[in-house]
C-alpha cells in the first residue's frame, strides 16, 4: 500500500517536516526528511474528522502528523464510525435539511407553546409570598412617582371596597389581595394589578364607570391577572426568550447579537395578548359566579374607549407589569389608538365581541 504524505511536527519545535506514513501489521511507520520511526497503531490518537480540515495523528511523546487526505486516514486506520459521527451528520445533505426543518419547528413550537407552558408551570410552583414584597415596593415607588391620594368621597370608596371584597371572596383568592384607590392624573383612567395581589384603580376610572357591574368587570379582569400570576410569568417568559436568543444568536457574533433583540420585542407583545385574553376569560367566570353578566366587561371597555376618545385625559390602559415605577407614558397625553393598549392588546371591539359571546 502506498504511504500517506503528511506534515510532521515533533512537538518540541515548530519545524515542519514532510514525511510519509504507512500502516502495516498493526504498526505505523513514519519516514522522511532524515527521520524514521515506528509505533503500534493502538498508541496513535486520531483527531475527530471535521469538514475538509486536515487530520491530526498524535504520537506518544507529543509529536503529531498532519494529514490532508481524510479518506486515506479513515481507510488506513479503519477509524471507527463513532469517531466520525459528528462529521457524518454535519456533511450529510439530508441530515442538514432535516436538522434545519426540525430546528425551525422546535423554535416555533417552543415560542408558541413551550415558553408559555414552562413559565406557567414555574410560576405556579413558586411560593406565593415571593411576589408580595415586590407589590409593596412597587406601590411605594408608584406613590412617589405619580400617584396622589384618592379624592373619591367616602361612600364611593366604601362601595368599591365592598364590590372588590365580594369578588375576591368569590374568586377564592386570599384576603391579602387588596384594592388601593389612587388619583393618578398622568395615567388617566387606569387599573393595574401589581404582582403579589394589589389592585390599583384610579379615580378617573372609578368616575367614568358609574355602573357597579362595569367596575366589577374591570376588577375581575385585574384579579385574573393576579390569579394567573401574569407579572411573574412575564418575567419568566422574557428571561427564557432572552436566554434562548442569547444561546442561538450570541454564539455567532456581536453583529447577530443586535439582530437578536428584534424577536424578543415581538414575542413580548404577542404574549401580552394571550394574558389579556386569559384575564378576560377569568373575568367572565367570576362575573357569572357573582350573578353578573360577562357583557359588563364589554360595556366597560366600550365606555373606557369612548371616554378616552372624548377626553384624551383618560387613557384606557391597564398594566400588569411588575417593574415598580414602570408606567412609562407619563407626561404624554395619548389618544386611545396611539400607544401600547391597542398594539399590545386584542382590539377593544374583539374583546367586546368576546364578552358578548360569553354572555350568551
Amino acid at each position: 500500500m502506498a504511504g500517506i504524505s503528511a506534515d510532521f511536527f515533533d512537538g518540541r519545535s515548530s519545524r515542519r517536516r514532510q514525511v510519509t506514513i504507512a500502516v502495516k501489521d498493526g504498526k505505523v511507520t513514519v519516514s522522511g526528511d532524515g527521520m524514521a520511526f515506528e509505533v503500534p497503531v493502538a498508541e496513535v490518537k486520531i483527531s475527530a474528522r471535521m469538514s475538509g480540515m486536515p487530520r491530526r495523528l498524535e504520537f506518544p511523546g507529543g509529536a503529531a502528523a498532519v494529514v490532508h487526505d481524510n479518506e486515506a486516514v479513515d481507510r488506513a486506520f479503519a477509524v471507527a464510525v463513532r469517531k466520525t459521527l459528528a462529521h457524518r451528520l454535519e456533511s450529510h445533505a439530508g441530515i442538514v435539511v432535516a436538522a434545519l426543518i426540525l430546528t425551525i419547528a422546535l423554535c416555533w413550537s417552543g415560542y408558541q407553546y413551550g415558553v408559555p407552558w414552562a413559565a406557567r408551570e414555574a410560576a405556579m410552583r413558586l411560593p406565593a409570598n415571593l411576589e408580595s414584597s415586590i407589590a409593596e415596593e412597587g406601590l411605594k415607588a408608584l406613590d412617589e412617582l405619580l400617584f396622589r391620594p384618592s379624592t373619591l368621597n367616602a361612600r364611593h370608596r366604601a362601595a368599591l371596597a365592598q364590590t372588590f371584597a365580594a369578588l375576591r371572596d368569590a374568586s377564592g383568592l386570599p384576603v391579602s389581595v387588596r384594592l388601593e384607590l389612587r388619583d393618578g392624573k398622568l395615567i388617566g383612567a387606569n387599573a393595574l394589578a401589581l404582582p403579589g395581589g394589589i389592585v390599583v384603580v384610579t379615580d378617573p376610572l372609578a368616575r367614568l364607570l358609574g355602573d357597579e357591574d362595569q367596575i366589577a368587570a374591570v376588577l375581575a379582569h385585574e384579579l385574573g391577572h393576579i390569579q394567573h400570576r401574569h407579572s411573574l410569568r412575564y418575567i419568566l417568559q422574557d428571561s427564557i426568550v432572552a436566554l434562548a436568543a442569547m444561546a442561538i444568536y450570541g454564539d455567532a457574533s456581536a453583529v447577530a447579537g443586535i439582530a437578536a433583540t428584534v424577536p424578543t420585542a415581538l414575542v413580548h407583545a404577542r404574549y401580552s395578548q394571550g394574558f389579556e385574553r386569559e384575564a378576560d376569560e377569568y373575568a367572565y367566570e367570576l362575573l357569572r359566579k357573582t350573578g353578573r353578566s360577562p357583557r359588563a366587561l364589554g360595556l366597560a371597555l366600550s365606555a373606557l374607549e369612548a371616554g378616552a376618545e372624548n377626553g384624551g385625559e383618560s387613557n384606557a390602559r391597564d398594566k400588569s407589569d411588575a417593574e415598580g415605577g414602570g408606567v412609562n407614558d407619563t407626561g404624554k397625553r395619548p389618544r386611545a389608538r396611539d400607544f401600547g393598549y391597542l398594539s399590545t392588546h386584542p382590539s377593544t371591539r374583539e374583546r367586546v365581541q368576546a364578552a358578548e359571546a360569553a354572555a350568551r
Binding site: 527521520m35 509505533v39 506518544p60 498532519v66 454535519e90 455567532a252 439582530a259
Partner: protein, 377 residues
Amino acid sequence: MYENPPSAAASAPPEAAKRNHEFKFTGDAAEYFGIWIVNLFLSIITLGIYSAWAKVRKKRYFYGHTWVAESNFEYHGNPVAILKGRIIAFAALVIYLGSGYYSQQLALGILLVLSLLAPWLIARSMAFNAINSSYRQIRFHFKASYQDVFMAIWPLILFVCVLYFMPQFKPEQTRMPSAQEWATLFLPTVIAMLAYPYVVGSIKRLHISHSAYGAAPLTFSAGIGQFYKLYLAALGIAIVGILALALAIFVLAMIPVVGWLAIPFAYIFFGALLMGYLRARVTNLTFNSTALDGHVALASTMSPMRLSKIYFVNLLVIVFTLGLMIPWAAVRVARYRAEVLALESATDLEAFLAQAGREVGATGEEMGEFFDVDLSL
C-alpha cells in the same frame, strides 16, 4: 519510541527566505452551515448541554481553517470544561436576575461580588483558551495573576462599586434635582465612558503581553493613549452619525410608507458603520502592535469601510432570514479578517519557527486540574 534527528538546526534550511506570510481562511459557508445547524439542533434537544460540544466544533472549524505559512491552527478545548464554565455562568446569571426581582440593592451586591471574582475568572479563561490553542503542534500559554487582571479592569469594578454605594436617588416631580443629585445620577455613566478605552486597551495588552507561543513570548507595543485616540475619533463619527441619522429619519418620516420602511435600514446602516469602524481600527492597532519574540510581527490592514460594508450586508441578511444566514455571515467576517492579516518575519520564518517554537511543559494549573473554565461565551 522514535528517534528525533540529532540536530534540527543542522538540517538544510527551507528555501523560503525572508518574506511576508499571509493568513488565509479556507472555511466555506455551505459547509459551516451544516455544522452550525446540527450544533443548534443538538443543543436544543439536549436543553443546551450539547452547546459545549458545539462550541468546540465551531472553534475547531474556525481555527482549523485558518492557515499561515502552510500550517493551520488547532483548537483542543475539552467540552466538559466548557460545560462547567457555562453552568457557572448560567447559575450566576439566574442568581443575579432572580435577586433583581427581590431588590435592586441585593442584585447590585451580587454583581459586586461577581466583579471582584472577575479578574480571577478572566485569568483562568484566557489561560484555558491559550493552552488549548496550538500551531504546528506547539501550544500557546497565558499566565497572569489576579493583580495583573485587576489592574486592567479596575474601572469596571469601580463602576459597580459606585452603583452599589451611591445613595438611592428617585426623581420627584415637584422640584428640580440638586446639583449633587445630578452628579450622582451621571457619575456611573461618566466613569464608564471615560474608562472604556482604557479597559479595552489594557485587556488587549494583558492578553497579548502575558501570552507565549511555546517558549517564545508575545509582546505588545501599543500604549493606552492610542486606544483613547481611536475611541475619540469614533465618538466624533458617532456624533456626526447621530445627527445625520436624526435628519434622515426626519426626512424619511415625511415620505409615507416607503420612507417609513426605510427607517430601520438607516438604523442598521448607522450601527454597521460605527461598529465596522471601531472593530477595524481596534483590530489593526492590536495586531500591528503584536510581535513574537521580537522577530516576527503581525500586520493587519483592515479597512473600516470594507468591514462596515460587510457588517451592513450581514445584518440585513441575518434579519431577513431570521438568523439562518448567521453561518454565512460568520464565514464572511473570518475570511476578511484573515485576508488582511500577515506575518512579517525579519529573517527566514521556517528557520525562526524551528528555533523559537520550543514547547514548554504545561503546568498543572494550566491543565486545569483544579478548576477548568472557559467563560468566553
